[in-house]
Each structure stands twice: as structure tokens, then as C-alpha cells.
């Protein structure tokens, strides 16, 4: 290398002797983002101070140059000024790339930025910045369920798991800042380990059209991206303080970002939340207090051609689980279901006792990108995630403070993606992924492991592209994933034999220890997924798109390995080692009208899932603790049909009506019966009145009506109560009644100097203190949902 430098220097100096200053340097100044040319760019030759300006085509010509190396200072009103070194040898052509800033990025108060569609023809929705901020004291799930087609599966009100068009858990992929979250998402009572305040923008792709994120997103993908940091010398931040009457607590979140002209930047974001016991209209929900501490840091450099970013985040949340939801067997369940009020109602407290969850998720990431002129962008990333999940049950010995579940999942991922951007009418993206996961359930619990020790390897490769032809857009993509899982698990010998695994999987058996058998189950799955779509833009404001997505999902660890009592559900759950992957075919249509005063979207879909894995009661098992219902995973043919409607009408300059309606119907085609836990039809309607002239004063009144779920499988069962010998039906199936909640939101802006502003907001949720129970809340058997909640929020941007 050194040799070439020397040689170059020698040649250059030789050429220097024949000084001839008649050469021209010409070229175009080009916007790196979309390859458009920039006019009105000024180029100054350092030393001579000769200045030229690009013409309307973005072209410049500098004459009278010698054969030498010059430094040019290039500036443009919408770009950061940069210095470029050019070696002139004869008449030289040289294009200069500049990064054209979006106007909104320069604005300290980022109210939104140019959204890049994740899928051109799939159905996707973006979460409003305002929804994210008003959910600052709540959770990501609470923010997302305000979208049409998104609901939530709750365990109480602090564990909120997003459900996309009826599907959740392993069928929903969560991408946070380019990293696929690996936080034991298989569990119905595991909420995503994400701080809602760290999200700059959230996109929900309904269905598997987002192939770049994974091929197993049968339900959909939630993409969380942090705020884009501008390349300029600036320091800004945001603080939101929220106080809430229900739970008598609140949250504080602050972020601070510093960036420099040279592209370096750094940001920090911290959140602290603390709530005591929440309340229904009539009683306190004892042991539902929560505490959350999150920190996210990032440091990077964003130059024109390349960028590197390192980031680290920690999410730590402790939530109490309603005391009355902790049960023995079916006899206890009968008593709890038949009682109007929970058994344990204590005085309000901030204490978090057993049963409780304590989860901690850490992500460390290193990401680099390089832009190729006229070609595209190459991104590479390595990340490490560590998820620690502790669940504390009530133990017989209350001095025993050990958790009953202690899981650690470590994930290492490396990805490389290439994004072709040279042609505005074409997008093309391809990438590869390698992932290694290691799961370690700590034996100190003294409770048999819910999920076994395992190692898993994933490999994925995809290609995805779209082409725009006049009013038509065509999209297509394919992905292949290989998953391997090697587990080490102890089965109760009685379970191993009852399930006939001793006959179907003798090769997994290692040795028998007492009444347990040690096994090494090993599986591998090859999954193929694909998407194809077409869109058409009508003249004017209408567009229509149709998309087909094929997704394959390998069974998760819970579906494969569950083999015993799930304490928090008071039921015995049984997985099946013989499962193969689920394959979903989803057809979706999206018709939108985007006119200034009336925006309208209707998105119907039909999804057919082969070998859909579901868990359902099959039996009642006698144990010395009483009778427990046995829930077994099984595979079936499923069909989901539904549609989402979004409507926004601007009646007058300052009066807006919004309407959302979502419906989904799930059917088990094999049994010809409804699928369990499908979200009920619901509609959300709001009226917003704003007075921009009075400090941006805004009022919103919202009505949220949730219908009763009338389609559900009958899983009720009968038991004999020991005391009275009575035969009673345990009604675990009947959904609760419909409910109607009215919410209010008002906010006003105040300027603080010329760079900062303050926003004061008042929110009232469940204004009329309505008592209700939600079908998708796992605690609906035991207690009502939340009563009125008055929140006061102060937001300062500086």
C-alpha cells in the first residue's frame, strides 16, 4: 500500500513540472438521498476564492485550474456545508454528493418526519406522535391499541401485549431500532420489554408483508424507530412528566440529544415510572403496583457516505399481579368466578408483593452503514440481547424469597442488508441474518422448569423489491429461514409416557433420574415465506392495493415443551414435540382516499393458517392439590376474516371527526367452531376542536365502544365441590358484556423563550367511572377493569 502512495506522490510531483492552468472541473451537485440534482449550490475554490453556482440542472463548471489537488467548499441552503478535495488532471469531471436535510429534521420540535413505507402494498399504520406522548406513563401496548385493527391481551393493566388483527405473541415480530426483540414473547402474560418513550416512530405492518424483518410474522410486525438526529450543531431535549390519579403515581421521561456539524452525535433517554395499586370504580386491585426504570444511550457518527452507531438500552420493570388471581385448582377457580369482587381487597399500597414479575431486558448494538453513489446503502449490524425474567409466586413458606421462574435468554444477531436506492421508481432490498440464542432457566428456583435449557440457531436470507410504473406499483419478495433448536429437558416420566413420547421420540431419551427422565430434543425447521402485491393510484386522491403474504412460523418453545402446571393460569399446559410449522396465507386489500378534508381507509383481509397452533382445554386432571384443567396445544386449520376502517373528516377549519372500526372473526375450520380469544368488534370515535390562535388549545372527546364477543368456543367444564358434593359448571368461556368508555383529552402550548415550549395536557380516561371487564384481559375472571383515571401531563421541549 505504502508503495503505491509513494509511487503516486512521485508521479504527481513529476507531473507538477508541466504546470498548465487551463483545465476545467465540472460536474453535478447531487442529493445523496434521492440522487436529484441541486441547483443554487455554491462552490468556492479554497485559496483562489473563486466562486461558482450550480445552474438549474445542478451543474457547475470551474475553469482555469491547474493540475493539482484543490479543496472545494460546497454549500447549499438546505444542506450542511462541506469540504471536498478534488485532484484535477486534465479536464476533470467530478460529481459532488450532498446530504439534503428534510426541513422537519432541522426543527427542534420534531413533529414527524417523512415516513418511508415499510411495505408498498401491505396494510400498515403509523402511530401518531401524540398517541405515543400521551401514553408516556402507560406502555407500548396501550399506545398501539388505539390503532384500528390492534388490540391488546392484558394481564391486569400493566402487562399489555399487542394483538394485531386477532394474533399475538410469537406471531407478532417486534423490531426496535433494527433489532428483533427476543424477550420470551411466546408467553401470553409477557408484555414487550420496550420503553414507549424511546420510540420516535412506530409502524404497525398488519400481516407478513414486511419480509425484511422476518418470515414468521403471521400476525404482523411492529417497527419501532428512534428519533432521527439531524447533522448540525445542536443540543435539544424533551421532558414529559405525567401524574395519574388511578394508581396514584406517575412517570417522568427525559431525553437529551447533542449533535455536531461533523456528523457526530449522542443521545440519552431515561424513564422512571411508579404506580401503586390501581382501582376499579368499586375497589382496589390489590397487588397491582408497578415500577419501571429504562435508560437508552446512543453514540454515533453520520457522515454523508457512511455512519456508525453504537447503542445500549436497559429496560427494567417490576409489576405486581393481582393477588386474587393466584389460585389452587379448579375448585378455587369456581369460587373466584362466581364472586363479584376479588377475595383479597386490601388498603392501597405502593408495595409490590408476590405474585409479581420482574423483567430486565438489555440490548447492546453496533451498526454501520455505507452509501454507494448511484447504487444504494449497505447496512451491517451486530447486537447482543439479554433477557432476564423472574416470576415470583406465592410459596408455601413466605420466608422463601426465591423466584418460581428464573429465565435468561441471550441472543446474538448479525445482519447485513443492502438497500438499492438509485432509481426512484424501484426499491430493492436484500439481506442475510444469523442468530444464536441460548436459554438458561436457573435451577435455584426449586420449581421444575417451565421452559427448558436450549440453544437455537437461525439463519435467514431475503430479497424484496418494488417497481413503480406510472400509476401502478408492483411488489414482490421471498425469504428463507432455517431454525434449529437443541433442548435439554427433564420430563416427568409419567408425562413422557402418557404423551407416548417414549414411542415417538425414543432417540431423545438420555437417562432416567428418579421419577423424571432427561431428554435432548433436537429439531430443525426450514421456512419459506413470500409476498406479492400490486397497487394502483387513481387520478386524484384514491389508491387501491392488494397484497398476498405467505408466512411460516416454527413452533415456539412453549408450544413444544410445556409439560406441567402453569401457576399463573391455574392450569396444566401440555406442548407437543411433534408439531410442524404454521403456514399462513394472508390476502389483504387496502383502499384509501387522501383528500385534505376527508381521509378514508378500508382494509379488509382474509387469512388462512394451516397447522395453526392453539391451546385449548381437553381434560380435567386429578392431583393432590385438587382438579386442574388440562390445556393442550394442538394444530388445526384456521381462518381469520375481518376489516379495519379509518375515517377522518375535517368539518371545519378547527373541527375534526375521527372514526375507527375493527372487526375480526376467527374460525377453527377443523372443528367448525370459533377460535378462542379473538378480539371483540370495537369502534372508536372522537371529535377534536382546536383553537390554534389561543396557544394551540385543543380538546378531544373520544368514545370507545367494545362489543360483546359473541363467537367463542365453549370450554366450560364440570367439577364436584368437595364440601357439598354439588356438581358445578366452571364457566371459563363466556365473554363479558359490551362496554362503552368516554375519554377526554385537552392540551395547550406555551412558549418558553424562543427555542423551548411547554405543553400542558389533561386527560381523563373512563370519564364516567364505568365498571367493565374485557374479554382479552386474563384477569377478567377475578376483577373489574380500571375505573376513572385523571392524568395531568407537562411536556417541555428544549
Amino acid at each position: 500500500m505504502k508503495f503505491y502512495f509513494l509511487l503516486g506522490a512521485l508521479l504527481w510531483s513529476t507531473l507538477g513540472f508541466t504546470q498548465n492552468c487551463t483545465y476545467t472541473l465540472s460536474g453535478y451537485v447531487i442529493d445523496l438521498h434521492d440522487q436529484s440534482t441541486l441547483n443554487q449550490a455554491t462552490i468556492i475554490v479554497a485559496g483562489s476564492e473563486e466562486a461558482v453556482t450550480t445552474d438549474t440542472d445542478g451543474k457547475y463548471i470551474i475553469t482555469g485550474l491547474c493540475e493539482a489537488t484543490y479543496t472545494l467548499q460546497v454549500s447549499h441552503p438546505a444542506c450542511e456545508t462541506q469540504a471536498v478535495r478534488v485532484t484535477v488532471r486534465g479536464n476533470t469531471t467530478r460529481n459532488i454528493n450532498m446530504e439534503h436535510h428534510l426541513e422537519s429534521l432541522g426543527d427542534v420540535q420534531v413533529t414527524g418526519h417523512a415516513h418511508e413505507l415499510k411495505s408498498k402494498t401491505g396494510t400498515e399504520t403509523i402511530v401518531d406522535h401524540q398517541i405515543l406522548e400521551s401514553s408516556s406513563a402507560a406502555s407500548l401496548g396501550d399506545a398501539l391499541r388505539q390503532l384500528s385493527g390492534v388490540s391488546s391481551l392484558n394481564t391486569g393493566n400493566t402487562v399489555v401485549k399487542p394483538v394485531i388483527q386477532g394474533l399475538h405473541s410469537s406471531r407478532v415480530v417486534l423490531i426496535t431500532d433494527g433489532t428483533r426483540l427476543q424477550d420470551q414473547e411466546w408467553g401470553a402474560e409477557h408484555a414487550p420489554n420496550i420503553d414507549v418513550n424511546a420510540a420516535g416512530e412506530v409502524t404497525v405492518i398488519k400481516g407478513a408483508a414486511g419480509l425484511q424483518y422476518g418470515g414468521d410474522a403471521i400476525g404482523g410486525t411492529i417497527v419501532i424507530e428512534p428519533e432521527t438526529i439531524p447533522v448540525k450543531d445542536t443540543l435539544y431535549g424533551r421532558t414529559i412528566v405525567t401524574g395519574a390519579s388511578n394508581g396514584r403515581g406517575g412517570s417522568i421521561t427525559s431525553s437529551l440529544t447533542k449533535s455536531f456539524n461533523n456528523g457526530w452525535y449522542g443521545g440519552v433517554n431515561g424513564t422512571y415510572k411508579r404506580f401503586g395499586d390501581f382501582e376499579t370504580p368499586d375497589y382496589i386491585l390489590s397487588n397491582t403496583a408497578m415500577s419501571e426504570k429504562d435508560v437508552a444511550l446512543r453514540v454515533g457518527v453520520n457522515r454523508y457516505r457512511f455512519g456508525i452507531e453504537g447503542s445500549y438500552s436497559i429496560f427494567d420493570k417490576e409489576s405486581g399481579i393481582l393477588r386474587s388471581s393466584h389460585l389452587g385448582g379448579a375448585e378455587d377457580l369456581v369460587v373466584a368466578i362466581n364472586s363479584d369482587e376479588p377475595f383479597v381487597v386490601n388498603d392501597f399500597t405502593y408495595e409490590i408483593n408476590q405474585p409479581r414479575q420482574d423483567v430486565r431486558h438489555q440490548i447492546a448494538k453496533l451498526n454501520g452503514l455505507y452509501r454507494f453513489e448511484n447504487l444504494g446503502k449497505l447496512t451491517a449490524q451486530v447486537d447482543y440481547q439479554r433477557n432476564n425474567r423472574l416470576e415470583f409466586d406465592i410459596r408455601r413458606d413466605s420466608e422463601d424469597t426465591r423466584p418460581s421462574i428464573d429465565l435468561q435468554l441471550e441472543t446474538f444477531t448479525a445482519t447485513a442488508d443492502f438497500d438499492y436506492t438509485a432509481d426512484n421508481t424501484v426499491t430493492a432490498k436484500f439481506g442475510v441474518l444469523g442468530r444464536y440464542r441460548e436459554h438458561f432457566p436457573d435451577p435455584i428456583t426449586g420449581v421444575r422448569r417451565l421452559i427448558p435449557d436450549y440453544e437455537a440457531f437461525d439463519f435467514g436470507v431475503y430479497a424484496l423489491g418494488s417497481k413503480q410504473l406510472n400509476q401502478w406499483t408492483f411488489e414482490g419478495g421471498a425469504r428463507f429461514d432455517y431454525n434449529q433448536i437443541n433442548a435439554e429437558k427433564f420430563y416427568l416420566t409419567s408425562v413422557w409416557e402418557e404423551r407416548s413420547f417414549d414411542q415417538s421420540f425414543p432417540e431423545f431419551e438420555v437417562e432416567e433420574i428418579g421419577n423424571q427422565i432427561f431428554t435432548r430434543p433436537e429439531f430443525s425447521y426450514s421456512n419459506f415465506s413470500a409476498t406479492a402485491g400490486v397497487g394502483y393510484d387513481f387520478d386524484g386522491d384514491y389508491s387501491l392495493s392488494a397484497n398476498y403474504a405467505l408466512a411460516s412460523r416454527a413452533p415456539n418453545v412453549s408450544e413444544l415443551f410445556s409439560d406441567g402446571l402453569h401457576q399463573s393460569a391455574a392450569r396444566i399446559e401440555l406442548g407437543d414435540l411433534s408439531f410442524n410449522q404454521e403456514v399462513a396465507h394472508k390476502f389483504s386489500l387496502n383502499f384509501t382516499r387522501t383528500e385534505e378534508n376527508w381521509q378514508f381507509a378500508i382494509a379488509p383481509f382474509a387469512s388462512f393458517i394451516n397447522d395453526f397452533i392453539l391451546i385449548e382445554p381437553t381434560d380435567l386432571r386429578q392431583t393432590i392439590r385438587g382438579n386442574f384443567q388440562v390445556w393442550e396445544y394442538r394444530q388445526t386449520e384456521a381462518r381469520l376474516l375481518g376489516f379495519d376502517i379509518d375515517n377522518e373528516v375535517r368539518l371545519r377549519e378547527n373541527l375534526t371527526l375521527k372514526n375507527q372500526f375493527s372487526l375480526v372473526k376467527g374460525q377453527d375450520l377443523t372443528l367448525d367452531d370459533a377460535l378462542i380469544n379473538m378480539p371483540a368488534t370495537n369502534t372508536r370515535n372522537s371529535i377534536t376542536y382546536s383553537l390554534p390562535e389561543v396557544s394551540n388549545l385543543r380538546f378531544m372527546l373520544e368514545s370507545n365502544y367494545v362489543f360483546r364477543q359473541n363467537e367463542f368456543p365453549d370450554n366450560n367444564f364440570e367439577i364436584t365441590l368437595p364440601a357439598t358434593d354439588d356438581q358445578v359448571v366452571v364457566d371459563v368461556s363466556t365473554p363479558p358484556d359490551a362496554y362503552h368508555l368516554i375519554n377526554f383529552r385537552g392540551d395547550i402550548d406555551f412558549a418558553l423563550g424562543n427555542k423551548s415550549n411547554l405543553n400542558l395536557g389533561l386527560m381523563v380516561n373512563n370519564m364516567f367511572n364505568t365498571s367493565y371487564r374485557e374479554y382479552l384481559n386474563r384477569q377478567r375472571y377475578f376483577a373489574d377493569d380500571l375505573g376513572r383515571n385523571v392524568l395531568l401531563q407537562i411536556k417541555i421541549n428544549y
Binding site: R303, R305, F306, G310, G328, G329, E331, D332, V335, F343, V344, Q362, A364, L366, Y370, F372, E373, L375, Y384, R386, I394, R395, R396, D397, Q408, E410, F418, Y420, E438, F440, P441, P443, T445, G446, V447, R448, R449, P452, D453, E488, F490, L492, T493, S494, V495, E498, G514, N515, F518, G564, L565, R621, Q622, T623, I624, R625, G626, P722, A723, D725
Partner: protein
């Protein structure tokens, strides 16, 4: 193919030396630090090489033994054993013999976890946390039996490890033993009124008084 070739050519030709020099070299220290940190975090992870250790369920009760001793006559033992705990095998319940009519028995109950060796005596745990437990004894309508508590917790509420079982005239019926954790105390003596969660429920059918 063309695209790959172009990328490669580009990468080789155009990744500026300045970039390598300034950015990577200047930040090599930081990168190394980050790398070290990552390795440190990783190596701090629990070491689980080799075979995972077997867990003998500590929270399970496999055995309930109620010994009824009369002043004179033969001892009757009610035994419930569920050796696989929550597993599919149902508990095995045995009653050693018939109870004598119009007799007073002193009852003594023992809870064991026999998956551990030696078996763990859970009765002492119940005794130590008497205020959080209560054993309920329930006879079906047909069975002429009354049970009285001889022991209390520190608050003076019944516990039920030491009882007296008084039989009446000859009859047959079901006798149920239930251990409840964290019931409301005091309570009305019914399971529904007591609440809490069931740790043990042994239903002895066909208990005979002759």
C-alpha cells in the same frame, strides 16, 4: 450479478482511506472498549455447560396422612399419595379400615414431599406459618362425623394439625381434607368462605362407620 460486482469494486476503490484512518483509528479505543464490554457482559453470563441439574419439585406435596387414634380400638389411617405431583397419574387414596361408631378419635395429620430423599416434612412449615394456613375437614351429609380443632395459630384461630374426630351412628360417606394457604382468618369454616388457595385436597370416598 452486476450489482454485486459494482458493490465490490466500489468498496475496494472508494472506501476512503480518510474514513479508515480518521474514523476507525481515532475511535479504535472506543470500539475496543465497547468490544471488551460486550465480551465482559457475555462472559458474565451464567455458565451452563454440561447437563442441566435435575430439579425435584420443592413446592409439591405428594403425601397426606391422617392418623386417627381412638382411646381403645384400632388406629385408622387415611392416606393420599400422588407420587408424580401435577403429572397425569391420579392420587391414590386409601383408608386402612372402618371407624368405630360413637367413638372419639384423636387426629394427627402429616404432609410430606416424597419426591425428595429423605422426604421433606411439610407439616412443620404449616406449623411455622400457622396464621397463613388452615386444614379443613369436611364430611358429606351421610357421614356421621364431627371434627373439632384442638390447635390454634398465634391469633387464636383454628389451624387443624391436631383434631378430634367424633363418630356417630353407623354410616357411609365422603371425608375431605383440604389444606388452604392464605385463607381469610377467622372464617365461617366453609371453603367458599375461607378463600385462599388450595395446597392439598384429598377426597376420601366410602369412609365407613360401623
Amino acid at each position: 450479478m452486476y450489482i454485486f460486482k459494482t458493490i465490490l469494486t466500489h468498496a475496494v476503490k472508494n472506501i476512503p482511506h480518510k474514513f479508515l484512518k480518521q474514523t476507525i483509528m481515532k475511535n479504535l479505543k472506543n470500539l475496543l472498549l465497547l468490544g471488551t464490554l460486550a465480551i465482559f457482559t457475555i462472559s458474565c453470563g451464567d455458565d451452563d455447560d454440561g447437563t442441566p441439574e435435575v430439579i425435584n419439585e420443592e413446592e409439591v406435596i405428594t403425601t397426606v396422612r391422617l392418623t386417627l387414634t381412638p382411646d381403645s380400638g384400632s388406629v385408622v389411617t387415611l392416606l393420599a399419595v400422588d407420587s408424580d405431583g401435577e403429572g397425569p397419574n391420579p392420587p391414590v387414596l386409601t383408608v386402612s379400615g372402618s371407624l368405630a361408631a360413637n367413638t372419639s378419635y384423636s387426629g394427627d395429620i402429616v404432609f410430606l414431599n416424597e419426591t425428595e430423599s429423605p422426604a421433606e416434612d411439610i407439616t412443620t412449615e404449616v406449623e411455622d406459618e400457622a396464621d397463613e394456613h388452615q386444614v379443613f375437614y369436611l364430611a358429606s351429609d351421610g357421614l356421621n362425623v364431627t371434627t373439632t380443632y384442638n390447635d390454634t395459630d398465634e391469633d387464636g384461630n383454628p389451624l387443624g394439625l391436631d383434631i378430634t374426630v367424633a363418630t356417630g351412628d353407623a354410616s357411609t360417606g365422603t371425608f375431605t381434607v383440604v389444606l388452604r394457604h392464605e385463607p381469610s382468618k377467622p372464617n365461617d369454616g366453609t371453603l367458599a368462605g375461607a378463600g385462599g388457595e388450595t395446597d392439598v385436597q384429598a377426597v376420601f370416598t366410602d369412609v365407613t362407620i360401623e
